[in-house]
Amino acid sequence: MQELKQKLTANIKAAYPEIKEKDYPGNRLDFTVDKQYLVSILTYLKESLGYIHLSHIACVDWLEEGEFEVIFILWSPEEKLKVFLRVRVDRENPVMPNVDMIWRQANTYEREMREMFGIQFEGLEAPEEFVLEDWQGPPPMRRDFDTESYANETFFHRPGREDALDVREEIIKRSREEIPDFAKKYSR
């Protein structure tokens, strides 16, 4: 296992010297890449090194650092290694290269990221909407999207149901029970 990892790291370092790698226990290996090399390194891994299966593309919003992290996870059926490729994109102007010509299923992941995080993929050909319908608000999976205030501003309460605005407080009023300490942070 360790030999395979070293061989892979050497191969990638030879082609892309500025890549940073991080080793994890088990069959996992992480690389941090710049987004301008993304398409070429994914093609290199697929065509030359046998990483033919794109297992996952995940996106994490690191709000405090002002960046999105997009993680491509590849799998090699021969070497039995999981390779993580981490790409950081600016939160203010999130533009990523499109990779769905390498793996067709990347199209679905990119559509979801475009809708949920507002990341634009250059040259992505797909219908505008994925899961949400007639969505007017900000991209909902961003960390600064507040579900509760969005719902309060966008929707209205059914007439006669105003007393159910905070169910917990209403129950307390009727049963005269105290809120336990641990539950207070969930109460309004």
Binding site: H53, V60, W75, V131, M141
Partner: protein, 367 residues
Amino acid sequence: MREKATTLYLGPQHPGITGNMMVRLKVEGDTIVGATTEVGYLHRAFEKLQEKRNWLQSFTLMCRFCVPETDPMEESYARAVEAIEGREVPERAKYIRVMVLELARLASFMLWYGGQNGSLGLYTMGQWSVGDRNYILDLFEELTGGRVYHMYIWPGGVRRDLPQGFEKRVLKTMDYLEKRLDDYDDLMFDNAIFKKRTQGVGIVNKEKAIEHGVVGPVLRGCGIRSDIRIDDPYEVYDKLDFEVPTAEGSDIWARALVRRQEARQSIRIIRQVIDMMPGGEFYNKVPNPQKWTLPKGDAYVRTESVRGEIGMYIASDGGTNPRRVHLRGAAYVHAITLLEDVLIGENIADVSAIMNSLGTCPPEIER
């Protein structure tokens, strides 16, 4: 003379799959010339909800990601959390987990038998197999308290130990189901209608499989031996002896043959697991869930479900809640780009059968 193409809306409700999803078909006569998948009927924003809940509260949402087979989601969540924290799981818990996963796999196969035949208008099979599935659900009810949603495999182990004499009852059910699987063969695989409607329909060949990142029985149905239980073993699958069936043909028939063999392999695994079941603890207790924090880091785990690979990515920022949970099921890659490609050139009447055969599960796509 070229006929004019008509648009046909198939769905959101239709036979063969669990959940709601629409396929917009462009048809010329009976032949499909274009297809677009439209999802969005089942979006419940679980992944957003999980960001607002602590590690144990968000575990209760996991099993709701996909209804026909709930346990692989719980297991992959539990394993990802354990991987981030470095928490050890007792040996007995691992064996119990494998037993539950394989029981869930069998139950899901029973539902597939019904769905695949129902989509072709052969309803007897579904009556039989869904009836027999209840015997497995009875076992689940005894073990976990729930029939469909179990919430049993959680971080640190499993929620409770096996009841007294449970292994015996599992083995008895397995003996019964093994006999029933032979009856199913007579009804399904010896049926001329089933053969005629499935052979040469919905072809996913090797090149297309790699281009689209196909997983699970669909990949094995085109002759590629690939199973995460063997390639990237988790829990105790590396200690068990079982085979990975493959078939040539790449059509619905080939995938049905693969699944037929896999159901038998599940019974074989359950018998082995019960035979090898060690004693001891079943749960490595987690701290007070309200204050339980995980170190900063991330994990990605893969599980083999009935429909194929399930991938669970979890990122932790060192707090009491997950930073990001992202699940990728087999349907996520099969039911959108692949389905749109496969449907071209097929007949309208075969769409439901193809969707079922590819393992379409809309709640898994939208989450």
